[in-house]
Symmetry: C2
Subunit: 191 residues, 2 copies
């Protein structure tokens, strides 16, 4: 089944088309192994373009992205992310940052502690789905020392690194992860 | 242009197909006016199914959803959301909740203050895109009194309401909002 989906996706992407929404949502996997094939600047721009179309509180769009291709800098990001070395094996690593100053100006403490994180997460999810649709693999990495990442890509005060997303061509086909069932996560009218 | 997209989407949905990823990402709008047309239980399940396929830290899936159709309860949610009355005009209102206990067990304070919010935001974004693909309109509402929402749908301790999403058939076609340009939000290698 995975192979069928993968082959289908490959031929779809080669034909210049991309995936249908539900197919992208359901077939996206966290990819932690990448081939040597490059990721073009045009592809990166498509990912960022998808990201910036996310909704945001008050349309503030508190997102900033750092595109990292330099091997030494990718290595330092991998070290900051608890030595997850697969990160530096991706041709491109995108550091997603939340602009706390902007969300704070608009909405105070709730802006900084909630909207800013939700808005950048929605943008990140758009990016992962767009990558999947283009046949690229990604992994949303949230476990890292923020101060270290801050130093590596020189994140200014008032901006916070919230996710590291390596992007490359998948060199693995992970099985679907088990998911909580719909009946387990849904209530009607109240808890 | 909006009309063309809307007509195209309508015919696509009627043909049993849904939107391509980039089209959904780029044509999704925040909808604040709804027709009287119902939203089926099957459609709601498709939205939740999309939501639960989001990535989450450690695959913890710290999301819980409350589906509200009762007019009185929808009214109370609208009041809790700073009197945004369009919320109660939607046939269905989904309250997205973050299970802080689960994320906290896995990742402590960072789990509660970050992953839990990011994971539920990714799930919410999946839901909005899925709705758009089905021809449904949604609006991500983040501004509400949490304690009031908690009472309305009886959210237990350790779980936090993080978003209110009215869902219905769009009765408006908002223009695209202005977006920050790619060059404004992207840096290469560092800030």
């Amino acid at each position: 089944m995975e192979n069928v989906i993968s082959l289908k996706r490959h031929s779809v992407v080669r034909a210049g088309k991309t995936l249908e929404v539900f197919e992208a949502i359901k077939t996206r996997r966290s990819i932690r192994a990448f081939t040597n094939e490059e990721v073009s600047e045009e592809e990166v721009r498509k990912l960022i373009d998808a990201a910036r179309h996310a909704p945001s509180a008050g349309n503030i769009q508190p997102w900033e992205f750092v595109i990292v291709r330099d091997p030494e800098r990718k290595h330092r990001l991998a070290v900051a992310a608890l030595n997850e070395t697969f990160i530096e094996e991706a041709p491109v690593v995108i550091v997603v940052c939340a602009n706390e100053v902007q969300s704070g100006l608009g909405y105070g403490a709730r802006g900084i502690a909630l909207y800013c994180l939700q808005d950048t997460a929605a943008a990140t999810q758009n990016m992962l789905l767009a990558a999947c649709a283009l046949g690229l693999g990604t992994c949303w990495v949230g476990a890292f020392y923020e101060e270290d990442v801050r130093k590596v890509v020189k994140v200014p005060k008032g901006v916070r690194p919230v996710a590291i997303v390596p992007v490359g061509h998948p060199a693995e086909k992970p099985n679907p992860r088990p998911k909580r069932s719909i009946s387990e996560i849904v209530r009607y009218e109240m808890f």
